[in-house]
Symmetry: C2
Subunit: 398 residues, 2 copies
């Protein structure tokens, strides 16, 4: 089998073709989860406040709740003396603490620093206007107010907001299930602790892909390794078409053992095979029914770059997960890096303070280069690399 890469698609075009093929109306299912599990999840319905927060007039300061009209003219030199009561009736005041309920009769709070209790009476040394140091009902959130829109990516502070509304469970989108299918005659399971025989390598790409899926908000389904045989690849894909997305690892190039893109094309459609991405050129992107399929190259660094460039945005679209900006560090190149024109190049760098040292190894089979790297300097297609000392954005590999 094996298709031939005739022309490379620009990364930007490949991504657009791929994302446009994902039907936004194929809604991901919804589940109800406990509030405590919400960080990192995406709201599947908007949250409207069903109550006022605060639900009572609260003191914003420690002090005495008063009727403001009782304090008219009060000053240090001319204090007003008020009695003490539980309900701040006229001519009296009521001790309150920050957050306390303010008696109905009161409309202001005098700070404790501006008062002195003398026997049964309290000396008030300042005049307060209505609502002074009073937190109004609904000051934080009003009943009926829209608090979060559907699609909001939830943070710990949002959990606190929802808790203050009395919510204990919320509707979120289910995590998209991504079937990760490693392929290759040479690939053997990681269960063995022995060094495999020559010509065989331990499965690592599927593990890496699955762990990134989980990090990016999906749920990985780790599948068995499939040999380089079209009918077995087809069976593996068919039995995972219930997933929300499929990632195939390896078998994407143009050799006689590279069947993956052709099999995907026979079951659905290959949209792109061969992208102007370095490393990552043999990446193929397709769709089978509503299931997007990323065919990542078997060379691990190329596979990693394909995951970042294509699997991540596709996962987010499938799972209704908002785009999260990369962590970018502004740095200066500590040495020259080259790139090939026509390729969007992910150069691995080691950050030392604000100096980005290029990693000299360029082999896309050398996974340890990623272990040593902090980040990528992404070089556009029409740029031929960067000189030592040049300012660059480093995208952290997280």
């Amino acid at each position: 089998m094996g298709t031939i890469i005739k022309e490379l698609t620009k990364v930007e075009d490949a991504k657009r073709l791929f994302l446009n093929a994902i039907d936004p109306n194929t809604a991901i299912a919804i589940e109800m989860i406990a509030l405590i599990d919400c960080p990192g999840r995406v709201l599947a319905s908007s949250i409207t406040s069903t109550r006022d927060v605060p639900h009572y007039r609260r003191a914003a300061m420690d002090g005495y709740a008063v009727q403001s009209s009782d304090t008219i003219g009060a000053s240090v030199t001319n204090p007003v003396m008020l009695g003490v009561s539980e309900d701040a009736e006229q001519g009296t005041c009521t001790r309150v603490h920050t957050g306390s309920n303010i008696p109905d009769n009161a409309d202001a709070v005098v700070m404790i620093e501006d008062t002195t209790q003398i026997g049964d009476m309290v000396e008030i040394r300042t005049q307060v206007h209505p609502n002074k140091h009073v937190g109004c009902v609904g000051e934080d959130m009003q009943e009926g107010e829209l608090i979060f829109e559907s699609g909001h990516l939830l943070r710990p502070c949002d959990a606190a907001v929802m808790a203050s509304l009395g919510l204990s469970e919320i509707n979120v989108y289910k995590k998209p299930v991504v079937a990760v299918i490693p392929t290759g005659d040479e690939v053997v399971p990681r269960t063995t602790t022995q060094i495999p025989p020559p010509g065989k390598v331990l499965e690592t790409n599927g593990l890496m892909a699955g762990l990134y899926v989980e990090k990016w908000g999906g749920k990985a389904r780790y599948c068995d390794i499939v040999p380089d045989m079209p009918e077995l690849i087809e069976n593996a894909i068919r039995s995972n078409l219930d997933a929300d997305m499929i990632i195939l690892c390896g078998g994407t190039s143009v050799g006689e053992r590279d069947h993956v893109p052709a099999v995907v094309d026979s079951l659905g459609e290959i949209l792109v095979h061969g992208v102007g991405l370095s490393p990552g050129k043999p990446t193929a992107l397709g769709i089978i029914g509503n299931v997007p399929v990323v065919c990542m190259p078997g060379y691990p660094v190329a596979g990693l770059v394909a995951l970042f460039a294509f699997a991540r945005p596709a996962l987010r679209k499938v799972g209704n997960i908002p785009d999260i900006p990369d962590t970018i560090i502004r740095a200066r190149m500590g040495g020259k890096i080259n790139s090939k024109e026509g390729y969007l190049t992910y150069a691995r760098v080691v950050l030392d303070g604000d100096i980005a040292h290029p990693l000299m190894t360029s082999g896309s089979g050398v996974l340890s280069s990623v272990a040593k790297a902090n980040g990528f300097v992404i070089i556009p297609e029409n740029v031929e690399g960067y000189e030592e000392g040049q300012g660059v954005d480093v995208v952290l590999i997280e």
Copy 2:
């Protein structure tokens, strides 16, 4: 009880005092975990390669493995004809695929594109030098090579590197346990779905603190709400001194119900009470034995800022977790923001593209302002705010 805030400590000084009080020799315990659980964890021992990766000479291309001396002078116009064998003995070549083992006799690979099989023979149309298209033993990692240092924060791609070394379990630091103790007579558990009576509020700060602890790599221990009584606060702290850190929520100000800093001081030492942080001024920081204690203000936004400013760096120091840079978005102010001189001010903003709109509400009790905000613009102590149109860094609230 209640102490008095005499002078505000600068945030930077408060942080230094607090972090310096945490003994780096109080090592956090180590545990062994499965490789698949490693992302986000911190290596507790260095990883040295126990094998060469690859462990055999592998073909870097599809083609024929040859003895390079057999190809001398070969060209399109003057090809060399070689027989086919399993072991690439002199005068023959062996079919290989990318990743295949290369026979001992061979020292190079001719790409498939430069060959044609004709009957039993293969036409070789290019001369190759020794090691051409051959991945050497140990090209990726060599036996005995240091791959990761202890203290490395593990990423999914690192899991793949370790998997390729045959590792299935690794030593990491245990997640630091952080006891989160909500305090306050007015605070009631979230278990109720009823609106609490006036003067009572649902517990939210402990939930928020605990969820941030988990996000930042710790393990939250959610404790019961403690009323504003010194002996009960003391009991709650004492029964959590086995934790790696304690966060107390509320009771940090100077009112007659604010006992938390004094109790911490009686059990250990309060290092800082009152910081030049807005919101977050009543924050107190202390240490009891080896256990750092963050007393976060009860006003939720002030509490949130205290978590970011102090609890996060302390948690990282306690857990040997490397510092992770914040996600920063460069933006322009969409309106004026003011700040008070002498305070490091965390102004909440809503990002709309690259415009940062200030949230007008300044109340530190208004948690919904955080729900609406994407990020903080952090205004230094000696700056009096920013004008509309001014360029700012927005730290995403994640």
